[in-house]
C-alpha cells in the first residue's frame, strides 16, 4: 500500500494505492484522483512551467508551459530545451515554443500573449 496526496486540484485528497493484480485507489473525491494514483506509481507526470527569452515585448521573458503533463524523469531535459530559445513579439497564448519535448510529442507552449512594443519613449 502506498499513501499519496493527490495534486490534481487544491483539495489535496489523501489517497491509498494498493497494487495487486490491478491497481486499486481509495480516498479520492473524484475520478481524476484514481487516475493520478495509478499514474503516480507507474509513470508519474507533471506540468512544467518556466520562461523563455523574448525580444520587443513588454518584458524580457515570456512564460511557457508543457501543453500536458510530461514524465517526471524528463523534467531536467525539458528545462534545458528552453535555455537557447528566443522569441520575438508578438506571441499569442498557446503558440508552440518547442514542438516535441524529448519524443513525447508534447509541446511547450506560450502561456500568455505578448504584443510587440517599440522601445518606450526616452
Amino acid at each position: 500500500m502506498t499513501k499519496l496526496i493527490c495534486i490534481v486540484c487544491p483539495k489535496g485528497c489523501h489517497l491509498q494505492v494498493d497494487v495487486g493484480d490491478t491497481i486499486v485507489v481509495t480516498g479520492h473525491a473524484c475520478n481524476r484522483g484514481v487516475e493520478y494514483g495509478k499514474n503516480e506509481l507507474k509513470n508519474p507526470v507533471r506540468v512544467i512551467t518556466s520562461t523563455v527569452r523574448i525580444e520587443n515585448a513588454i518584458y524580457r521573458r515570456i512564460p511557457v508551459k508543457t501543453a500536458s503533463p510530461i514524465p517526471k524523469p524528463l523534467i531536467r531535459k525539458a528545462m534545458l530545451l528552453l535555455d537557447k530559445i528566443s522569441l520575438a513579439a508578438p506571441v499569442e497564448v498557446g503558440q508552440i515554443v518547442v514542438e516535441d519535448i524529448c519524443g513525447t510529442g508534447i509541446p511547450f507552449v506560450a502561456s500568455r500573449s505578448m504584443e510587440r512594443v517599440e522601445k518606450a519613449e526616452g
Binding site: 493527490c6 495534486i7 487544491p10 520562461t51
Partner: protein, 429 residues
Amino acid sequence: MDKYSIIIVGGGPAGLAAAYGAWKSEKFRESDKILIIERDKELGGILNQCIHNGFGLHYFKEELTGPEYAERFVRMLEDSPIEIMTDTMVLEITRESEGIKVCTIGKNVGYTNLYADTIVLSMGCRERTRGAIGISGTRPAGVFTAGTAQRYVNIEGYMPGRRVVVLGSGDIGLIMARRMTLEGAKVLACVELMPFSSGLTRNIVQCLHDYDIPLYLSHTITEIRGEKRVEQVVMSRVDENRRPIAGSEVVFDCDTLLLSVGLIPENELSKTANIELDMRTGGPVVSESMETSSSGIFACGNVLHVHDLVDFVSQEGERAGISAISYVHEISQGREKSDIFKLINGANVSYTVPQRMDMARISNNTTVFFRVNRVFAQSRISVTSGGVEIVSYKRTHMLPAEMERILLPKKILERANGDITISCTEETR
C-alpha cells in the same frame, strides 16, 4: 464633470471580476460608466508573475497558469465599454458632495480627481517582511520576500540566489522553492514555524517532495549572518509556544533567504476613506454584498482577506461588481432600510467574511468564507442564531492553511432572528 458609476481600484483578478460582474449584471445600463484603475503597466496583477499552473479549476473548470487566467479575464472584457487606465495609481479616496472623490495620478491622466457613485476596492495584498517577523543578525543583501524573488525570476529573468533557504511554507514560498530549483539554484530547506504547513498540501508534494527539498516544521530562522550578502542562516527548533529551543541550532551555508511568512491586505487607501477594518482579516468589514462600512464602497479579493485560490477571488469580485451596479440604480430610487445581523466567530473559527448580513439584500445563496484556528479531522461546522442551530455541515478534515467555505441558502438564513455564530467542533466516532 464626468462621473463614473463605478471606479474599480486595482486591475488584478478581483478588480477584473468586479468589472465583469457589473457589466454582465441585469442591472447594467448602457449609460453606466465603469473604470478600472491599475498601477502596473498591464492588467492582471500578481497573476502575471505566477507562471505556475493550478489556477481556474473552480472558475473555468480547467487548470491554467496565472498569466492564462489573467488573459482569459482581460479577453472577457474586450468587447465591454469598460474604461481602463494602466500606469495609474489612486492616492486617496474621500467623500464629497459631488460623489466619492478618487485622487488619481498617472502618466496619461496627470494628477487629477475623478468622481464616482460607487467604488470597488481590489488592491490586493502585500508580503510580510523581515522587520515584521524580527529575525536577528546582520542585514546583508540576499533577503527577499518570495514574491519579489518571483518577479525577478519570472518577469525580469534574473536569478536572485544560488543557494537558498525558504522561511515559511506559504504557497508562494513553496512555488518559489521549485522555481529556483528548476532554474539551477540549490534550495536547501523550507522552514516553517508552525507544526503544520501554511501552504496547500499539493504544493508540498509537487514543489518540495518532487525535488527532495526538506520541510522543517516547528522550526524557524533565528539569525542571519553575512556582512555584504547572506552567508549563513541559523535554524532553530521551536517549542509549543513558538519560542526557539536553545541548543537546537542548525547552520545553513547559503546566499539567499526567501521569506514566505504571510500576506497583509493592502488597506492604506481604505483608511483614507475611513472604512472600518477587521483586525482579524486585516481587511474591511463587509456585508454579504461586499459593501464596506462606508455606503457605496465595496471590497473584494485579497484586500478583503487573503485567499488561497484565485477562483474564489473572482467569485467574490463578481459579487462586489454586481452589488456595486445594483447600488448605483438603487440609490437613484432611494435605498430601502434593512436589518443587519453580525456574523460571529464561534469556537475554533478565526474569522469570517462577510462579517455582516444585510438581510433585505441577501441573494439566493450566500457564500461565507472562514478559517479554522487548528487542524481538524472529522468535524462539524455549526451555524447558530439566538442559541438555535439553523444548519450544520460536515468535513473530513480542515486546516488553518485552507480557507473553508459554506453556502447558506436564503431560506436557511431567513431562520436567523439575530446575530449568527459559526463554530467548528471535532466529531468523535
